[in-house]
């Protein structure tokens, strides 16, 4: 049998868009087959067809050589096809076991103890480290994903589809997931991995089908193809991962953090005696494993939470006790980590969102009366400058934009405030290569204009790409600050676990 799954000449149209146009995907047994494409390329659509959620307008599907018709997910289950969706489908208040047996029929449900035993066995077999009796709401996102994997395994699936599984994971969890996928393949499973992250494909996949705007661009052998080549196939033009960055002498200190201590919501000291300076005309990257005090540090700088002791100065003004608005006014801009929670009012139009921090100032309002004309003109400007694509321009509700365009809008708003210090927290999370490239360019542009940029990111790639200096945070403490040109990913990786630069440097040379 050459292929476990074959989808031949699939076509799928939605009103106004051809999501899949004559796409053929062939998956070999025991391979990790990557499906690469930008957001909106049609990856989820074709896999939803395989899983029986949508129906193809044209084309045939063969499973293990036999032509099949899959009209709903149950058919897919019966054929041994399982899928982990981009958004998990778990009941938070149920236990792992309850979630896994949910929806199974009759006899399979009755014996809960037996089910738990089998889940434990499966978990051990693939070293998933899952407690069958834990409540889903009590386990981490990474673990919840494993529950989804177990759900497929429990149903004896041997073709496993993962839709953008790493979007919600930390680098560590991502790495572990890649390991799990390799184990699964060794045990006889076949995997389809949907992603737009090249690094993951390089790490785990055997072959890769590239889709662009609904059309199959090609199938490549991952070992023999460079990331650059795959990126070019995906985007349809040459992509530069490296942002053009000329050396630049930094100027005066803009952001000066001195011996800062911050407690988190649980009164636990999350930032400890932290000192860091960011100068005009430089990008400082703050690297660290997620949950090591980055969030609390950002909240303290922006004024979303109080500091315990120590001081923060912006252009020599101590901002302790200043309101969030005052901080914005003296030149702090902030691209927040969570664009839906903090970045936008989704019910507001794009235009209204573009003045979220300045609506009370002229020309956007005068004597407390809003000037719609000025707000719209401003929005048009940001939309044009930052290439925000939206159906009805500034009138589009922000919630209707795609993630990449929402992020571009936020970046546009913050940069348009012409800040002295720009705090960029995970500015490209979940975005595709094109949007990432764009946002990176704009951040470097800020630096070149003589602004100070503090970049906080979990992606080492991003930090190395942009930062002039890298600061590493671990357990809330500053480990060390090094020039980007004098270090490498391996050293930073070690420093993220608490080694000083010298120790890390010795250990890696």
């Amino acid at each position: 049998m050459e292929y476990v799954v074959e989808m031949l000449n699939i076509r799928k149209e939605f009103p106004g868009v051809v999501a899949n146009d004559d796409v053929t995907i062939q998956v070999r047994p025991q391979e990790i087959h990557a499906l690469l494409g930008e957001n909106g390329a049609g990856k989820s659509t074709i896999m939803s067809i395989l899983f029986g959620i949508y129906h193809a307008d044209r084309g045939i599907i063969k499973v293990r050589g036999k032509e099949v018709s899959i009209s709903n997910p149950n058919d897919a289950n019966d054929l041994g096809i399982g899928m982990v969706h981009q958004h998990f489908k778990l009941v938070e208040t149920f236990t792992v076991t309850e979630n896994i047996i949910l929806g199974l029929e009759g006899s399979q449900v009755l014996d809960r103890r037996k089910a738990a035993k089998r889940i434990q066995d499966l978990s051990d077999q693939y070293s998933l480290k899952i407690d069958p009796h834990a409540k889903v709401e009590e386990i981490s996102v990474g673990m919840q994903q494993r529950v989804e994997i177990l759900k497929m395994l429990y149903r004896n699936a041997d073709v496993l589809i993962f839709d953008e599984p790493t979007a919600v994971l930390t680098p560590q969890e991502t790495h572990e997931l890649m390991g799990i996928m390799k184990d699964l393949v060794k045990e006889g499973k076949s995997i389809i991995l949907i992603t737009h992250k090249l690094r993951e494909i390089k790490e785990a996949a055997d072959r890769c089908s590239v889709i662009r705007r609904g059309k199959l661009v090609g199938v490549v052998d991952v070992k023999k193809t460079s990331e650059k080549e795959m990126a070019a196939m995906m985007v349809g033009r040459e992509v530069s991962f490296k942002v053009d960055k000329k050396p630049r002498e930094p100027g005066d200190v803009v952001l000066d953090i001195r011996n800062l201590n911050v407690q988190n919501a649980r009164k636990y000291r999350a930032v400890k005696d932290f000192s860091l300076q960011v100068r005009a005309g430089e990008i400082v990257g703050l690297a660290g494993v997620d949950g090591n005090g980055q969030k609390e540090l950002v909240e303290a700088i922006t004024g979303l939470s109080d500091t315990e002791s120590g001081s923060i100065l912006i252009s020599s003004t101590d901002i302790a006790g200043l309101s969030i608005r005052k901080r914005n006014e003296i030149g702090l801009a902030h691209i927040p980590e969570d664009r839906h929670k903090h970045g936008l009012v989704l019910e507001y139009s794009v235009a209204d969102n573009m003045v979220l921090k300045s609506y009370y100032q002229e020309p956007y309002s005068k004597n407390m009366i809003l000037n719609e004309e000025a707000i719209r003109t401003h929005a048009d400007k940001v939309i044009q400058l930052f290439d925000v694509r939206s159906g009805k321009g500034g009138l589009t509700p922000a919630g209707k934009l795609s993630g990449g365009n929402q992020q571009k809008a936020i970046v546009g708003r913050e940069i348009d405030m012409d800040p002295d210090i720009l705090l960029a927290v995970q500015p490209t999370r979940g975005l595709d290569v094109g949007a990432i490239e764009y946002i990176h360019k704009r951040l470097v542009e800020q630096r070149d204009k003589g602004k100070a940029v503090l970049l906080i990111s979990l992606e080492l790639d991003e930090i190395f790409n942009l930062a002039d200096r890298i600061a590493v945070i671990s357990h809330g403490e500053l480990v060390d600050v090094v020039k980007t040109s004098e270090t490498n990913e391996e050293e930073i990786g070690l420093m993220m676990t608490g080694y000083k630069w010298e120790e890390a440097h010795e250990a890696t040379t």
């Binding site: 939605f14 949508y54 979303l304 929670k341 407390m368 009366i369 809003l370």
Partner: protein, 352 residues
């Protein structure tokens, strides 16, 4: 504003469904629904006097409905309009009975004191919510009962009527919001200057919500509190402000009701109009103009039911049932709307 046509469609279908349900009920008890509705609407609209009374009933509902709708736009559920209205009425009545001022000034002071009383009654739950995260539903209900007992104590103690312990003295004509030209125009109806206050408030609130920075802030807080905070908007101040304004609006309802529609205040009653305000806001989709329409319609049903009963023997409770049914359909129409959307989307997904 772009959601208006949708909301309007839903409101109209809820009203139609409610009217049909009422017709079925009338049929079920052996009455002729056409006759019933004919007299119901005639009862509200037959002559200037009837129209004036309908408008007078609606005036109170406009203000309580606006109160609930306004708070809702900031993400707050104001169940306390009844208490705020009662306190507003108490303040206005007390001023009207106890303070000697030239009439125009007296009326202004009465209205302002009603607003202030209601605002205070709204401010307390707003403050509790902002500072201690006490849910406003709990706090406003509590404030309703505090208002109830304050009136229970204050009226017999300070404003006792000439004959009855259970109600205040009757306001003299110069301290009433009723003015001769309106009363004459509407042939002796209860319609009063509160109507102008209510309509002015509709447009003021509408302007505030859509065109002013305060409205921008309040709605931002209502839609996404975290983003508002992030942007430097004082979330807590806005929560309190929203409740102060909502309470003040309900307080104005107290002024028009107790010192215009009626001429004294009774103890032992939480005004039902405060709760009807929730229905008005719901049917009006929390939109000021929608509130105006919904209040006029409910006012008509309330005002006409007595006449319908007198002419046809259909119990006035039918009218209340129609209102209840409309509320029910409005509430579920949101669900039905969502369901239809969902089905439409699924159909698209399925491609067939």
């Amino acid at each position: 504003m772009k959601r208006l046509p949708d909301a309007l469609l839903m409101a109209v279908s809820a009203v139609i469904l409610g009217i049909i349900a009422g017709a079925l009920l009338m049929t079920a008890i052996g009455s002729n629904p056409f006759e019933g509705y004919y007299h119901l609407f005639r009862g509200g609209l037959m002559n200037m006097r009837r129209i004036g009374n309908t408008v007078a009933v609606s005036t109170t509902l406009i203000l309580t409905g606006l109160s609930v709708a306004f708070a809702f736009r900031t993400g707050l559920f104001n169940i306390g309009a009844a208490g705020q209205m009662l306190i507003g009425g108490l303040c206005a009545t007390a001023v009207g009975l106890q303070v000697a001022l030239p009439r125009p000034i007296l009326l202004v002071v009465m209205v302002l004191s009603a607003f202030a009383g209601g605002a205070l009654w709204g401010a307390v739950p707003g403050f509790l919510k902002a500072k201690f995260n006490v849910h406003e539903v709990v706090a406003t209900i509590m404030m309703n009962w505090i208002a109830y007992w304050v009136v229970y104590y204050a009226v017999p103690a300070f404003l006792k009527g000439d004959f009855l312990e259970t109600e205040s003295r009757v306001l003299p004509a110069y301290a009433s919001l009723r003015v001769p030209w309106m009363t004459n125009l509407f042939d002796g109806a209860y319609v009063n200057m509160g109507l102008f206050i209510a309509v002015a408030m509709i447009f003021l609130i509408r302007f505030m919500l859509n065109r002013m920075t305060i409205g921008y802030e309040l709605k931002a807080v209502g839609s996404n509190r975290h983003a508002a905070l992030y942007a430097g908007i004082h979330v807590n101040r806005n929560i309190i402000l929203s409740m102060v304004i909502a309470g003040g609006l309900a307080g104005l309802a107290g002024a028009t009701f107790y010192t215009g529609y009626s001429a004294n205040i009774q103890i032992g009653v939480l005004p039902i109009q405060g709760f009807d305000g929730i229905a008005v806001a719901l049917l009006g989709a929390n939109n000021p103009l929608g509130v105006l329409g919904a209040a006029l319609f409910f006012g008509l049903l309330h005002a006409g039911k007595g006449f319908m009963n007198a002419m046809t023997g259909i119990p006035p409770e039918i009218s209340d049932t129609i209102i209840a049914t409309i509320i029910y359909f409005t509430a579920t129409s949101i669900l039905i709307g969502r369901g239809l959307n969902y089905l439409a989307r699924r159909k698209k997904k399925g491609g067939k």
